[in-house]
Symmetry: C2
Subunit: 199 residues, 2 copies
DNA sequence: ATGTCTTTTGATAGTTACTGTCAAATTATA
DNA sequence: TATAATTTGACAGTAACTATCAAAAGACAT
């Protein structure tokens, strides 16, 4: 048996993907309509026409339904596609900017709305920041590979920490200024890091 | 009536402070003995000889019992005590290092144990990172005041983000390497920021 | 199509963090 | 010592999760 892919394989898989997307959609809608805390898992389940049990089979927590989308693979691809003459910082900067540039208008809108919700609701923000530590580790690994160092090298860890920190500050600012240009904010901020944080 | 201080004012206040400290102590002990999730609020309350209701009157959440200690005021004092010829980054660096240097051996031990627990348990880590956004805002305000800019100036926000990010990476590393020198790690990391993240 | 095997689902019951309310107990004050 | 203010504990309730198990639905061989 070859691994697994046979025309998006099976009715089962397709159905699962569809319910999962439906649940996420209804959840986002309800959160925006009623507020995150005022929305119960039961309501989400009902709206998506599944049982509460099934909700937790798809998403391990209530937060997870919003946070599941993982941009890490996109970032990895974009980073590794950067020409090798760029410094790690320049490569990260370019990777992030171009990853955003590749997104459709719909994706950008959803991302903005999600970011607004996440950064606004303490519980969501906490969970989201927590998952950023994984991304931080990822960035450390990418930078390590590119420079031939170890991922737990002090310079590499510091680099990853600074990049993530800058991202956090941009995400927080963007939540309060939804009309700003996200990619532009990120680009500007990372360029300041490159310049040694002039003040 | 002058604000409030009359020999640490009243029996009530003293008693409250004592129970609060007792609860935190028992909580930390139980968390280390049984694990965070396996310890119930009821157990903590029983150990500290209070009712569960009272626990939640002192601490708004189970996490809060560990995360309550707030080093922000210490940081503010240390920062503002730095000579004005230092750059904001140098001032933060010095402030953090000297704040740690001023701690007693006991305080350092407790801090190490707490950090280990917090960075290890996902729920605690999430809540802790969330509260770091407040510290980030604080650092932005301090840097703004020192440079005569606005706290939401792009350079100021980026500065605060980078500083917090570096702190996160150090805290994570320190949790896995408890024998390392925390102040030293922080000092080294912040110096790399100053140098423009050489890699 | 039919029967069989595997995976997915929903119902049910239980735990625990957390909230609100109220009367009893404790401390401050006159 | 009497009275007012504050703190506490008991009780009841909500909602996020977990575990279990039988029923439903998709996969697959004949």
């Amino acid at each position: 048996m070859p691994p697994d892919d046979k025309r998006t394989m099976g009715l089962r898989e397709r159905k699962k993907a569809k319910t999962m997307a439906a649940v996420q959609m209804h959840a986002l809608r309800l959160f925006r309509e009623l507020g995150y805390n005022a929305t119960t898992v039961e309501q989400i389940a009902e709206a998506a026409e599944i049982s509460p049990s099934t909700f937790f089979r798809y998403f391990s927590t209530k937060e997870d339904v919003l946070l599941r989308d993982n941009y890490d693979p996109v970032l990895v691809d974009a980073f590794e596609a950067q020409p090798s003459h760029l410094s790690p910082l320049q490569a990260v900067r370019q990777a992030m900017v171009s990853a955003i540039a590749d997104m459709s208008a719909d994706e950008l809108t959803t991302m903005r709305e999600r970011n607004e919700l996440i950064m606004t609701v303490p519980e969501l923000r906490a969970a989201s920041l927590n998952s950023l530590t994984q991304t931080m580790q990822l960035i450390a690994e990418l930078a390590a590979k590119r420079t031939g160092r170890e991922p737990d090298d002090a310079a590499v860890r510091t680099f990853a920490g600074a990049v993530i920190g800058v991202n956090i500050s941009v995400m927080l600012y963007y939540a309060e200024h939804p009309d700003a240009d996200f990619a532009g904010l990120l680009d500007e901020a990372l360029s300041k890091l490159e310049a040694g944080l002039p003040l």
